[in-house]
Structure formats: structure tokens, C-alpha cells
Amino acid sequence: MNPLRDEISRRCFLQRYSKTFLGVSVLGLATSPRAAENPAPRARSVIYIYLRGGLSHIDTFDPKPGRPEMGGVRAIPTRADGVQISEWLPLFANQMRHVALVRSMTSTQGVHDRGNYLAHTSYFMTPTISHPAHGAWALRRLGSINPLLPGNVLINGSSQHPGSGYMPAHLAPLPIPDPAAGLQNSALPERVTEADFVRRTQLAQALGDDFLARTPHPSAAAYRKVHEEAVSLMRSRDLGAFDISQESRRTQEQYGSHTFGKGCLLARRLVEHGVRFIEVEEGQNWDTHNDHLVAMRRMTPSLDQTLSALIGDLHDCGLLASTLVVLATEFGRSPQISETTEGRGHHPSAFTWWLAGGGIKGGVVHGKSDEAGHNVAENSVTMPDFNATIARALGIDLDHIERSPSGRPFTVANSGRPLESLFA
């Protein structure tokens, strides 16, 4: 018997089970305040993968075979006709029929935090307003699928994530700093027994009663309520969504034992449990100013492993059709390798992001960079355009205006227009 197949069928069974008995998908529709704003949303959930530091495009998804800029790195064919990628991503090449590469990304922001901010919000960073990231928008416009779990989760996120910006704080992503540890502080500490916990909770309730009785303040009452919710979450089965140790060893190995592997595995579990938006930050530093090729040789294998495991797994489970997977980074890297540092510098004028699943055509390439990967040669795409594509896949109305508390009007992707040709 093929153990892998068995594993898949078990999980796919669970998926169906959860649909039937936990009411996940039913609830999803029922609790979405605006189920369909745009034509035929295909993506129910998003897994947004972010590579911090600025991923070199020509060494990965936009190789330039034979060019001196490649520093000897070769290109290999993929499962998609005529699409080549770097030899450093052989496993991912097998998944290329699910992926739409956008090789004509371009931006004007060449500093890390500003590029990162534009990528996440579609707006330039300014000190007078802070804009929400995709996840907050998705939750704001579409609501939670599973009301028992947070709808917006950030795994291994950086401290500079824009979060909910001007939108209310409850739309900000719940941060999971360590995917292996799951939801922070949700387990009883060592040496504390269930009996201890019950006793202490009772005492806390008893002590709190007086205070609440003479404090008719909604915030005080709300703290009693979140305390009760936290206690029930600690005991609930839904907490299992955060526990990747429930996956088979084989699945865990497929994703990889590093933070990114665990993060993506957790993301897949959260999608299964009806979480709307999950961002996973890759933990390695792609800011390869020094000795670029050596560093890339070290970092790409784990990236390759996890990305291909994620797409393959989602597909095998039948979740890829309703899950949009996105890969983004703040900019590309200069095609020219520096003689002194053997590194590549920041390069916002041309780089690659990609999408897979969620109603996006696979095995295609949108746009083109020039022969050395310096500039965009065809069909340039801005970060707001790309983000409009994500919003369109989810069925978020691109023209809907949200106002900041001071009354300033904003839209989900600024003035970006979606890449209609990528929709299947």
C-alpha cells in the first residue's frame, strides 16, 4: 500500500468530515456578510507567502539562461510547457502547472521597509496614516469563515507588519511567532494541572465578581468575556487547528523541519479549518548583499522543498481550487553581481511574484523582463495591480471605499487593476 496515498485520503476524508459535521463551509457562506461582490470569487482562503529581504528574481523564477549575470546558475524545464526556472528549484518545477508567474513586477521602492509596506498595503508609506494589509481587508469585507477561529493569521511575521492599519484592531492578524508552538500561551504551563487551573479560575471569577458589579464598564465586562472565551478555546477541538504535531511524520517531513516548512504546514491546517487569510513569512534573510551565490545555494533548497510540498499537498487534498497561494517579496536583486562583495543589490525595477490556485490559471507566465532582467520588457505590473488580482480572486469589490477615522477614503488595492487574463 502506498502510505502517501493513504495519508492523503485520510486527510481528504477529514476535510469532507469537517464540511459535513463541523459546518465549516456552510458557516463560511452563512457568516460572510458580502458573499459575492464581484463576478464568481473562486478563492475562499489565501496563503500569502512573504520572502523578507528581497528575493533575487533571475536566480529563481526568472532565469536568463546563458547570460553572464547568472553567475553560472542554470535554468531547468518545468512541468509547464516552455517555462523554465532556476536549477535551484527542481521540486517546484514539478508544480509549475499550477502556478502563474508574474515576471514583470515593478516598483519604485528600493528600501526594505517601504517596499514591504507597499507590497502589503498598495499604498506608499507615509507618517500621517497607516494602511491595513491584505488580511485585514479580507476580514473586513468578507468576514470569517469559521467564527470560532481568528480570520487573519500571521506566522513568523516581522514587527513591521502593517496589521490592520487604520481599521479596527480586531482585524489585525493574530501573530504566531513560532508555528511549532501553535497559538501562544494556549497550553497550561508545565506542572500546572487541570485541577489547579479549575481552582484558580474559580477563585479569579469570585474575586472579579465584586469589581464587575461596581464597574458597569463595557471594557471590564469584555475582559470577563474574553477570559471565558480563552478558557473555552483552551479546551476546544478547534485549538487543534494550530497543532501541526497532529500531522503524520511523513507530511511534516515533506514540508520540512525548518520554521518556514512548519509555518506552511500550519497554514494548510488553518485553511482546512476555515481561516480566511494566512500570511507566512519565510525566516531566511534574502538580502544577499554579500556572496550571493553561496548564500542562495544554502537557502534555496528548503524554500524549494516547502513551496512544492504546499502546492502539491493543497492540490492532492482538493483545496487548491479554493485556496489562493501567493509569493511576494519587497523587490528583486540587481542582475549585476558586485565585484567587491560578490553580492546583488536592491532592484525594484523588475522582479517576480507569483500566484497559484484559487481560480488562477496554472502553467502560465505573465509579462516579461528584458534579456538581463534589468527592466520590464512587456506588460508591467505594479504591486497594487497584483494586490487587485488577489482581491478580485477573493471577490472583494475593488471600488469599495473604506474611510479612515479621520475620513480619508481608501480602496483595497489603491488604483491597481487586476490581471484579468490570469483567471481561468
Partner: protein, 781 residues
């Protein structure tokens, strides 16, 4: 809550005005100046006043005569008055007023009713003749005051509050008891709960002036510096790692030192506005570096923080709901526009390196190769970032709509209210600072007086605190006027001013335990019940874990002084010395690269060994890595590039506790997302006051199971060590209550606790846990 509460600012302003003290009964005619003028100001004046270059449709509403002649108001006949009827049209109707496209809010029913009644009653404007678009300067000639005058000022505040209650038929809450007072004042001034020893000492004192004494002691403490820093950091958006390529924490250090040394508020602001030099010479230049290349946003924030005035709408177009034009905005920004780091790349240039010309010659003479040139460039990089004045002039944008001919022409400096402050390119910032910080400025002292009032009372006398305008009248104008004048007469001494507020009867009353209705003003019964900020919570929990918490500074302090010394040395080097240093650094970089490649190779090998499960190889590679790193550290010392690393805590008070347990003000920001402070809503400092106090589930999880609670419960924790000397179960129960809530248990609570803890194997842990998880812990009483 800040983010959610600010919604529909304008509506809040109106409601505040509508519910003003002289709110007439429904049948009475509305008061023009109190009730109608604010409506016209916020909904009409942008287009229909003298401020609009060409009033739309030729209609002006900013004088009694203009209103009379306008034709849109038919006295006694609301249904024939367009002023009213056009506001009632369907929102989709193009003729609807105010035009919603520009961002204005439609009038609500209450507002329309007000207009209707006013017109029905004859549209009287009373003594009002016309609206003064330029708010006048305030007269200020009062004699200076000293700290010894505080009691007398407090008495006057008490009288004014009493007069308010007499007029309203309301009264103060009951005087607050010592227990709630001690917790409140520690949190408000020291930013943390009192320790067991501190609350015991205060509660045991019989001195009649013990509250005033405690207030003075706390205002002079290091804890006050820490707490005040957090407050200012949120306003100024301080981020320790927020300036590319520069040690931004030096700006933070400067702000801390300004608080510690008691720099008067007007001098503080003046020093920020006029700051120049390198960051390590004058930390105040961080004020400009924080908004690198964003002169317009910088002025928006400056105006909001120091003048309580929001003008950011006018960055790009005339303000849609206040008569503030884009020209006003540009004229104000013209004062600071010339600062090198604001407008352009001039702030980062070899022109700022005084040794540069000589260095060029030296490099030419030495036939410097590319490697050396790059090294020179790296060496002098910090010196290129200089904050100074330039003669650069702000110009009207190419999109400027009000005067097409003005596009691209230089903008003259002009203040929007108060005194005029003419300036030329070479004294712009001084002139601006003079005007800004003068007691004659109608909004400068008022803004800070109001903000500090809010800081301790929970709500401003004017809300929102950044909506000062001639029509947004405070609930108690005499009081705000008195406070503003007193603060200025105290020479802008923040501690003295806070002492006035903290000693007042209204502060020392029972708190108001229900939140105010949105839009309703402060009622002067007592301070509002507030949730502790993230910083207050963190610092309070650490009070239970770390002895003498306020005195503890992070270990990286040693590194900081090395970095500072190096930068000062670099600044004072001759060109020859800089070249020598660059040569040395070029050598060092070669060594560094060799090392980093070695490290890379070992990393790859380690990864492979781990995958194979070869424990022996893993160990050997680990040893090699350690050796390589040690050798490199030696090399760094030889090249003077090493920093004192991983210093161990040697102070016996703190050797047993985490090195990360220092007050929130001492932690570098932005802090990682999973950190306790971020969980509880610490601001990310992108925007002014972007903190958040709304409850969420992770708060409860952290307090139930998190590291700080766990540590407090440990047998040897600081809080438990203080309970040991107490005599019996009862005293220890009291001790636990005092340690966490700064109060003794009621008889009823004590009985309940004894009963529930009777059979517990861990009674003390249970009690501490329960107190930390009771909502009372999270609020300032």
C-alpha cells in the same frame, strides 16, 4: 481604543458642541454662536466663505450681512430656505449640500432640526457680526509662577470645578480612598503599580500632607521619566531602529534626558524645531530624520502634536470640512522645508563631510583603487547624514488648484493664526519656533494643557485633543483658559503643571466607572476608569518580578556608549586619519568576507549532517564554527570593530532574573509581534498615538499561562519573597492583595479566599494567579 474611538471626528465635534453647557431646551431657539456657527464652519465655510478663493456660487456665509443677503436663508420660513432644503435632498442628488464627494459628512436629523428651528425663529445672529478667519493671538502678560505656587493654583482649579457643578446642579464623586489613590497615582505618574513596600508605607502614614508628598516624590522619580517617555514616544512616533543607517535610539536618549533634566516644554519643542547637527551631537535632529524626505507629512504631524490641529487634508487639496486651504498648509510648511533631511537628498551627501575635499586629494595622490574608494565611502557614510538649514524653497505643486498661475512658484512663509511671523530663508526655523512656542500662540499652550489633562483624567477638556479650532468650545472654557495660562506662567514646567492637576479634588475623587457617551463631554466628577496601557501592564507585572525595577537599565548600554564614542571620534578625524581608517577597514573587510564564506560552508555542512542524523559530524562542525567565530571576534578587536557583547548581569539584585525584564521604555522598538507589549496593544509608532486598548483573547491567554504570570508564581519570585516575612495566613493574604491591587481584601473577599484556598495544595500561587486574572488588575481605579 484610540483607533476605533476616533471615528467620524466631525460628528463627535458637533455632538460635543450640541451638548454644550448651555444646551437650551428643545423649544428654545438655538444659540447662533454656540450651535449654528460650528455647523456652518465645518460644513459650509470650506467653499462658502472668504477663505475660499472664489466662494462657490458666489455664496458666502461667514458674516451676518452675507447670510442676510445670501438668499438661501428666508427668515421664519425654513421650507423656503435652501440652506436647509439642500441638506435634505437624496444623497445621490448632485445638488445635495454639503457635497459628499469632497469627503464632507451629510447633516444628521438633529443638525437639520437645529437649522430649521434657527431659521423658523428668524435666523437671528445676535451680536455676532462676522467670523474672524484668522484666530487672534492671546494676550499674555501675567507674572511668572513658581513651584511653590502649585497649592494656590490647585485651589483655583477646585473652585472652578465647584462653580461648574453649582451651575449644572451636579457634583464631584466621593473623595477617593487612600488605597485606590495610591494605585492610581503610581500608575499615572510612575507608570506602574506600587510595590508592597511602597503601598504599605503610604497607607501606614498618618501625615496629613502625605498625598502631596507622594505626588512630589513620584514626579521626581526615574519611574516618571520612563512613563513620560512612553507617552512622548507615542506622540513623536519614536522607533529605536527607525532611521536608516543611523543610531535612531540616540533621539530616544535625547528625549529621555530632556524629561529627566526637566527641560521646560516650550524649550523642548523649540529644541526639536531648531535642531541641527549630527544625531550623536544633538539627538533632537531625530525629529527631522524620523520623517526623512517627507516634509509635508512632517508638518501635518507637527501641527497635530504641538498645535492640536489636523491639517493633513490640506496637503493635497483644501480641507473639506474646515476652512483650511492648501495655501495655508503650504505656507506653514515653508518654515521647515529648508531642513536638509526633509526636502531632498541634501541631507545625505559628501557636502556634509567637512573632510571630503581633502580626502579626494589624498585618494588621488594615493592612486586609490576601487576597493579603497568603496571603503572610504563606507567609512564616511554616517558623516554624510547631517541635519542643517539650506536655502531651498517650497514651491506650489503642479496640481495646485486655487491659483493656476502660482503653480511652481515659491511659497512664502506665513502662520495660519495668532501673530504673523515673517521670515526669510536664513531664519525660517527660528521665526517659526518663536511663533509656535509663544504664550501668545492661541493653540500651543492650550494643546499641551489639554493633552496633559487627558493624560491623568482620561479625557480632554476638548475632544478630540487634535481638534482645536475657534468653534470647538471646551465644556468648561474658564478652566481650560486658567490651566493654559497657568502652564505658561509656570514657564511650561510639566512637573509643576501635573502637580496642580494631581493635587486637585477632581483627580482625587472616585473614578467615573462608566465610559462617557460618544460625543458627550467630560463631567468633572472624577477621572475616568481606564485600562492600563500595554507599557503600564508590562511594567506592573515586572514590579512583581524585579527588585528596584526603575533603576535597571538594559545591558546594551555599554554597546551604546562605544557606538557613540566611535561616531564622535569619526566626526573629529582629519582627512589623513579617515584615509588610514579606510585602509584598515578595507583589510578588515577582506578578512570578514573570508570568515563569512567559511561560516556559510560550515552552515551547509551542518545542515547536511543534521539531515543525515550524523551526531558526531554535527558536534565537530559545531566546534569548528565556535573556533572560527572566536578567531573572528579576536580579529574584530584588533580592528576596533567589536562591541562589548553578551555582557552578564552582575548586579546581585538582578542576576537571577531575565535580562529582558527592563521597563518598556528601555526596550528597543519596534518590538517583535508575539511580545507581551505588542499583544496588549503597544503602538507600532507609525502614527501618532496608535496604541490600542481593546480586549482580545490573547490577553487572557497571556495572563493565564504566559511567562510573566508563570514567573510571578514561582517560589523564588520577587513578589513571593516579600510575602515570606509576613506572620500568618491573614497577613499574607493581605500582602498578596496589596502587592497586586494595592488594597486589602474586604472581609467578604477574605472569607471567600480562605474558603476556596483551604484545601488547595498551592494556595499562594492560586491567589496570585487569581488576582492577576481578575479584571480589576487591568484598570486604573
Amino acid at each position: 481604543m484610540i483607533r476605533t474611538c476616533r471615528s467620524s471626528t466631525t460628528l463627535v465635534i458637533f455632538a460635543a458642541v450640541l451638548s454644550g453647557i448651555e444646551m437650551p431646551a428643545a423649544a428654545q431657539s438655538p444659540d447662533f454662536q454656540q450651535q449654528i456657527l460650528p455647523l456652518l464652519y465645518n460644513r459650509c465655510f470650506s467653499c462658502h466663505s472668504e477663505k475660499a478663493g472664489k466662494p462657490k456660487g458666489g455664496l458666502r456665509l461667514d458674516s451676518a450681512e452675507a447670510i442676510r443677503d445670501s438668499g438661501v436663508v428666508v427668515a421664519g420660513k425654513p421650507e423656503e430656505s435652501e440652506l436647509l432644503t439642500r441638506t435634505a435632498l437624496a444623497l445621490t442628488d448632485k445638488r445635495h449640500m454639503p457635497p459628499l464627494k469632497g469627503g464632507s459628512q451629510p447633516l444628521n436629523d438633529t443638525e437639520r432640526d437645529l437649522l430649521r428651528r434657527w431659521i423658523a425663529d428668524g435666523a437671528k445672529t445676535g451680536a455676532w457680526k462676522s467670523f474672524a478667519h484668522r484666530e487672534p493671538a492671546v494676550a499674555f502678560e501675567a507674572a511668572p509662577l513658581k513651584r511653590t505656587d502649585v497649592p494656590q493654583l490647585t485651589r483655583r482649579v477646585d473652585e472652578l470645578v465647584e462653580a461648574y457643578h453649582r451651575a449644572k446642579g451636579s457634583r464631584l464623586n466621593a473623595p477617593v480612598g487612600d488605597e485606590a489613590f495610591v494605585r492610581r497615582v503610581y500608575l499615572d505618574v510612575a507608570g506602574r503599580i506600587p510595590t508592597l513596600a511602597e503601598s504599605t508605607q503610604f497607607l501606614g502614614s498618618k501625615a496629613s500632607d502625605k498625598r502631596a508628598k507622594l505626588i512630589d516624590t513620584l514626579l521626581q522619580s526615574e519611574a516618571y521619566v520612563s512613563h513620560t517617555f512612553n507617552w512622548k514616544a507615542d506622540l513623536l512616533r519614536l522607533i529605536s531602529r527607525g532611521i536608516p543607517g543611523q543610531p535612531a535610539w540616540m533621539y530616544e536618549d535625547w528625549v529621555k534626558e530632556s524629561i529627566r533634566s526637566g527641560m521646560d516644554y516650550d524649550k523642548f519643542v523649540r529644541n526639536l524645531i531648531t535642531a541641527k547637527g549630527y544625531l550623536w551631537e544633538n539627538g533632537a535632529v531625530g525629529f527631522y530624520l524620523r520623517d526623512l524626505g517627507m516634509p509635508l507629512d512632517h508638518m501635518s504631524n507637527l501641527s497635530r502634536v504641538f498645535l492640536g490641529t489636523r491639517i493633513e487634508c490640506a496637503q493635497c487639496h483644501d480641507h473639506p470640512y474646515e476652512p483650511v486651504t492648501q495655501r495655508d498648509f503650504y505656507q506653514l510648511t515653508a518654515y521647515t522645508y529648508g531642513v536638509s533631511n526633509l526636502y531632498s537628498s541634501a541631507g545625505y551627501s559628501t557636502d556634509n563631510v567637512k573632510q571630503w575635499n581633502k580626502l579626494l586629494v589624498l585618494m588621488k595622490d594615493a592612486n586609490a583603487d576601487e576597493g579603497l574608494r568603496q571603503s572610504v565611502s563606507g567609512t564616511i557614510a554616517p558623516l554624510k547624514r547631517l541635519t542643517r538649514d539650506t536655502d531651498h524653497l517650497l514651491k506650489y505643486p503642479e496640481t495646485y488648484a486655487n491659483d493656476v498661475k502660482a503653480r511652481g512658484t515659491p511659497v512664502e512663509c506665513r502662520t495660519p493664526f495668532g501673530d504673523e511671523a515673517p521670515a526669510s530663508a536664513d531664519n525660517r526655523r527660528e521665526a517659526f519656533a518663536d511663533w509656535l512656542t509663544s504664550p501668545r500662540n492661541p493653540r500651543f499652550a492650550k494643546n499641551i494643557s489639554n493633552r496633559l489633562w487627558k493624560r491623568v483624567m482620561g479625557m480632554g477638556l476638548i475632544e478630540p485633543v487634535d481638534s482645536l479650532s475657534p468653534v470647538n468650545r471646551p465644556e468648561h472654557p474658564e478652566l481650560l483658559e486658567f490651566l493654559t495660562e497657568s502652564f505658561a506662567r509656570l514657564g511650561f514646567d510639566e512637573r509643576a503643571y501635573l502637580a496642580v492637576l494631581l493635587n486637585s479634588r477632581v483627580y482625587q475623587s472616585e473614578s467615573v466607572r462608566t465610559p462617557p457617551e460618544p460625543g458627550l463631554p467630560f463631567t468633572f466628577q472624577g477621572p475616568l476608569l481606564r485600562r492600563l496601557s500595554a507599557e503600564q501592564l508590562w511594567d506592573s507585572l515586572l514590579t512583581l518580578l524585579v527588585e528596584d525595577l526603575d533603576a535597571r537599565k538594559p545591558l546594551q548600554g555599554d554597546q551604546d556608549s562605544v557606538i557613540r564614542e566611535r561616531l564622535v571620534r569619526l566626526t573629529n578625524m582629519t582627512a589623513d586619519e579617515l584615509l588610514d581608517l579606510s585602509k584598515k577597514m578595507a583589510e578588515f573587510r577582506v578578512i570578514q568576507r573570508k570568515h563569512s564564506i567559511e561560516v556559510e560552508v560550515l552552515k551547509v555542512a551542518l545542515k547536511q549532517a543534521k539531515e543525515k542524523g550524523d551526531a558526531d559530524a554535527v558536534r565537530k562542525i559545531g566546534q569548528k564554527q565556535a573556533k572560527a567565530n572566536a578567531g573572528f571576534e579576536q580579529m574584530k578587536k584588533a580592528y576596533d570593530t567589536s562591541l562589548p557583547t553578551s555582557k552578564k548581569e552582575t548586579d546581585p539584585r538582578w542576576t537571577k532574573v531575565s535580562p529582558l525584564w527592563v521597563r518598556a521604555s528601555e526596550i528597543r522598538t519596534p518590538i517583535a509581534l508575539g511580545h507581551f507589549l505588542r499583544q496588549f496593544g503597544q503602538s507600532d509608532r507609525r502614527e501618532i498615538d496608535a496604541f490600542n486598548k481593546s480586549p482580545n483573547l490573547t490577553h487572557s491567554l497571556a495572563l493565564m499561562n504566559g511567562e510573566l504570570t508563570r514567573s510571578a508564581l514561582e517560589e523564588k519570585s520577587y513578589v513571593r519573597s516579600r510575602l515570606i516575612p509576613l506572620n500568618d495566613k491573614n497577613e499574607r493574604l493581605q500582602g498578596a492583595f496589596l502587592s497586586i491591587l494595592a488594597r486589602r481584601p474586604t472581609a467578604d473577599e477574605a472569607a471567600r479566599c480562605q474558603k476556596l484556598l483551604q484545601s488547595s495544595p498551592t494556595p499562594e500561587q492560586d491567589l496570585l494567579w487569581a488576582l492577576l486574572n481578575s479584571p480589576e488588575f487591568l484598570f486604573i481605579p
